[in-house]
């Protein structure tokens, strides 16, 4: 009964979404506000319906209903309850339901806002979000149904169907196959949902962009409305990427966090266009430029989001993420192609209306530098896209399949990232409209001189790696310039307003959240850059087979093999756990417990590192091999990862910075106007940049 209920509510949600598309379209064409209102209510109804369906799915997962094929594929009796719940997005069918659920929630949130001033957008926003929703629900219902059950026919075959085939009996497997061990990790709670939250939230600015193009109301209204959506989307997507990196670091056992795997790149590409978009909308708001460009960026972001969802879930590429296999590829490519062509056609039809209101005059003006920053983001996107499609191109042209690996991406993107860092140092100091080297130089020379001390100190400290020296110089420069800029503004405020420095600093951030939140984001990026430079350039490793009591040494550390034990764990694993002691300069620093987990249900092993983390470096010890026959000896692999903790530290600062930038604040036009007794009016202007 329950699977039918889950499927039924989902099917209803699909019908309601289709209805809301049609009602919005007809209501707009025939000028029938009642129909548009009906479309709006229909859209609001999809969320409770999908919630019921998703709730049913989770109930089936938690209660071991292995007669449901999706439950059989992603859970097993031995899994803890929290993992059974997260198994919701552990397989393709479930994760598409999850996507639709989020889409519906966000679409509902948007339709619940006050529409008085933007009534003409409403039908089109409903149309775009409901089409996207209906597409995903359609995929679930017609291609990837998570509620399919197993049936045993008269001939003894077991088949997978939604409804009972004639003459068959329900088939109930004893236990499920279990989630892939790689996914049995607390990271499963945060990484996929955050990534999906980021993906789905970007649909909202896209919907408003399309509404803008269709209605021809080509002012900046859509950007004002979706400003915060974009920031949240960006926060979620960025965190999704960072948490994914942390998870990989903790379980994949290669001492790294990012492997330029095609699926990672698929999630990274919308982040690139989204970040470019986040910057260039400011130019439109401030200067009325780059309007066509912003449209291009949001269209790209939307289709890259759909593409990313497809790649992460389709299994077309061999990667650590390819857990799912399916035949939904053509539907995805059809949808991406169709939305892309339609969006671009719409954009071209409004091309002249989106002309810039001003002309760019100076190469050093802030708008020119923002444009340059955008071009760099797009350049990285092109590099990534080239890397992903290169095998296909080369096969078409030469008949020989040629792929490019991480060295390609590292080599091609490193100068672009360095250019981006240089821009982060210069752009905040340049002025709108016109800037000269002279004014820029005056603002920059002090921090530059101080920043130069960093590579000089490192050089004296015997560092001879040019990439690292340039990298650390840029990190120091951006950090100092940004801090200096914040300090200068706070000092100016302190003098003008006669406030104490901390108060001036707080109010500075409060009055101009987006700008100073943005500066903090830049600083957080620099903290992450320290971690990335450290592990990418200075990682060292060693490996060896040693007897009990013997040691391996690496980067000044001694790792002594003390003990090993094999025992079963309650959640269906057999754990082989080694105890090693870490020493540095004969000083005892602590114990680490690298281990190998063997999962009975999937017959797979996982190598879990023992880690010792400090701000200076990480010691990352892997138990590679141990056989009870040769109990005396075991094989270890050890990585020394300098500075990598700064990457995660930067991520924390990043979250705080975005919260500052995105925290609700009265919009300028909604600011209360205080009328004093004398009749003079003072308006507090909130959001200005």
């Amino acid at each position: 009964m329950l699977p039918e209920f889950g499927f039924g509510t989902l099917f209803l949600a699909f019908l309601v979404a289709v209805y809301s598309v049609l009602a919005a379209l007809i209501g707009e064409r025939r000028r029938r506000p009642d129909l548009v209102e009906s479309a709006r209510r229909a859209q609001l109804l999809t969320w409770p319906l999908i919630t019921l369906s998703a709730g049913t799915l989770v109930w089936l997962l938690v209660n071991n209903r292995f007669d449901v094929s999706f439950v059989y594929e992603v859970t097993s009796r031995s899994m803890p309850t929290y993992l059974k719940i997260t198994a919701w997005w552990g397989g393709q069918a479930g994760s598409l339901v999850f996507w639709a659920w989020l889409m519906s929630a966000f679409a509902s949130l948007v339709t619940l806002r006050k529409w008085d001033r933007d009534a003409e957008f409403l039908p089109w926003v409903i149309l775009v979000t409901s089409i996207t929703l209906a597409f995903f629900l359609g995929l679930v219902i017609f291609a990837e149904n998570p509620f399919n059950r197993y049936w045993q026919t008269m001939s003894g075959d077991v088949v997978e169907r939604m409804f009972r085939p004639a003459g068959s009996l329900p088939f109930f497997p004893q236990d499920g196959r279990g989630l892939n061990p790689l996914l049995r990790h607390p990271g499963m709670i945060v990484h996929p949902p955050l990534l999906y939250l980021g993906f789905v939230s970007f649909v909202i600015p896209y919907a408003f962009a399309m509404a803008t193009l269709i209605t021809g109301r080509t002012d900046d209204r859509w950007i004002h409305i979706t400003r915060r959506w974009t920031l949240w989307a960006w926060l979620f997507l960025s965190l999704g990427l960072v948490f994914g990196g942390r998870w990989a670091y903790d379980v994949l056992g290669w001492g790294g966090y990012w492997g330029w795997d095609p699926v990672e790149i698929a999630a990274f590409m919308p982040w690139l266009t989204g970040t470019a978009f986040l910057h260039s909308v400011m130019i439109q708001e401030k200067r009325g430029m780059l309007k066509q460009w912003n449209m291009i960026l949001i269209i790209l972001t939307y289709d890259l989001v759909i593409f990313g969802t497809f790649l992460t879930r389709s299994g077309v590429l061999s990667s650590v993420h390819a857990f799912a296999q399916s035949a939904i590829g053509p539907a995805f490519f059809g949808f991406i192609g169709l939305t892309f062509v339609l969006s671009v056609a719409l954009l071209l039809s409004r091309w002249t209306a989106l002309r810039a209101e001003a002309e760019m005059k100076s190469m050093l003006s802030r708008e020119a530098l923002f444009l340059l920053n955008n071009l760099l983001f797009l350049s990285i996107l092109i590099v990534c896209f080239w890397g992903v499609i290169f095998p296909l191109i080369s096969e078409l042209v030469t008949g020989q399949k040629v792929t490019v690996g991480p060295p390609f991406y590292e080599r091609a993107t490193a100068p672009l990232f360095a250019g981006m860092m240089a821009l982060m140092a210069i752009a905040p100091l340049s002025a709108w409209g016109k800037s000269t080297w002279k004014t820029l130089g005056r603002a920059m020379w002090k921090p530059s001189v101080v920043a130069l001390l960093v590579p000089i100190a490192l050089w004296i400290g015997k560092m001879r790696n040019w990439a690292a020296l340039i990298g650390f110089f840029l990190v120091a420069l951006v950090t100092l310039v940004t801090l200096y800029e914040i300090w200068r503004a706070a000092r100016a405020r302190q003098k003008a307003q006669k406030e104490t420095f901390p108060v001036a600093l707080m109010r500075l951030f409060g009055r101009n959240r987006r700008r100073y939140g943005g500066y903090l984001v830049h600083i957080s990026m620099m903290l992450m850059a320290i971690g990335i430079l450290g592990i990418e350039i200075f990682q060292t490793e060693t490996q060896g087979t040693i007897r009990l009591g013997q040691s391996l040494s690496l980067a000044g550390y001694e790792v002594r093999y003390d003990d090993i034990a094999r025992f079963p764990a309650p959640d269906g694993r057999e754990v082989t756990r080694a105890v090693v002691s870490v020493y540095r300069d004969d000083k005892y620093l602590g114990e680490l417990h690298p281990r190998i987990d063997f999962y009975f249900d999937t017959q797979q092993t996982m190598t879990i590192p023992g880690q010792r983390s400090t701000l200076a470096d990480d010691l990352y010890v892997l138990l590679v091999d141990w056989q009870p026959v040769s109990a005396e000896q075991a094989t270890f692999k050890i990585y020394h990862n300098p500075l990598v903790n700064w990457l995660w530290l930067g991520a924390l600062v990043f979250i705080a910075a975005i919260l500052i930038a995105a925290w609700p604040q009265p919009e300028a036009e909604m600011v209360p106007v205080v009328v004093t007794s004398s009749g003079s009016r003072r308006a507090r202007v909130g959001a200005s940049d």
């Binding site: 292995f66 094929s69 059989y72 197993y150 045993q152 077991v158 088949v159 997978e160 009996l169 088939f171 109930f172 497997p173 004893q174 196959r177 061999s318 857990f323 296999q325 002309e359 760019m360 005059k361 100076s362 190469m363 340059l372 071009l375 760099l376 350049s379 092109i382 590099v383 080239w386 095998p391 020989q400 399949k401 040629v402 792929t403 490019v404 690996g405 060295p407 390609f408 991406y409 080599r411 091609a412 100068p415 672009l416 490996q543 060896g544 087979t545 190998i596 999937t602 017959q603 797979q604 092993t605 996982m606 190598t607 892997l622 590679v624 091999d625 040769s630 000896q633 094989t635 692999k637």
Partner: protein
């Protein structure tokens, strides 16, 4: 006047990106080959960055934990996905490759920890180069075990 300046700047960036892409592609391209192709090309591919895939033959797996040296043989499997589907899916193709002793095989040497998924009839995807001795020296070793994830319906019958 500023227009030409911006145009020049744009062209400069474009040229830089094109240069970065092409030089990096040339420097790090890996040639994806099947074992049959590798055998056919012979010595012309020695030293090039190669990415090959094959079916692991379980009996040949040897691991020396002292030197962390892993050796095994892989048998030819088709590189084209459509071909694999036509032959009954990856699991069937891998099984056929391992049992058919007339197939081209190649010996692989890899130094490092023994991967958890290395077993008979796994698909090994390796990057590395072909040595003068005809042995493939892998720098990177990825494994896929399709059997577990391809069985569409459960095996054991339990009402």
């Amino acid at each position: 006047m500023p227009k030409t300046k911006f145009l020049l700047g744009g062209l400069l960036i474009l040229a830089a990106v094109v240069y970065l892409i092409f030089s990096s592609t040339a420097a790090s391209a890996e040639y994806f080959m099947t074992i049959d192709e590798l055998r056919a090309k012979g010595s012309s591919v020695i030293g090039k960055n190669l990415r090959i895939s094959g079916a692991v033959i379980g009996d040949t797996i040897q691991y020396d934990p002292q030197t962390l040296t892993l050796t095994f043989e892989v048998a030819h499997v088709p590189g084209d996905n459509k071909e694999i589907e036509a032959q009954g899916g990856l699991a069937a193709v891998l099984h056929a490759a391992v049992t058919d002793s007339t197939r081209n095989r190649i010996k692989v040497v890899y130094v490092g920890p023994k991967p958890d998924l290395l077993r008979n009839e796994a698909q090994a995807i390796m990057t590395g180069h072909l040595g003068d001795d005809g042995i493939f020296y892998a720098d990177e070793l990825l494994l896929k075990c399709p059997t577990r994830y391809e069985e569409a319906v459960p095996q054991q019958t339990q009402p």
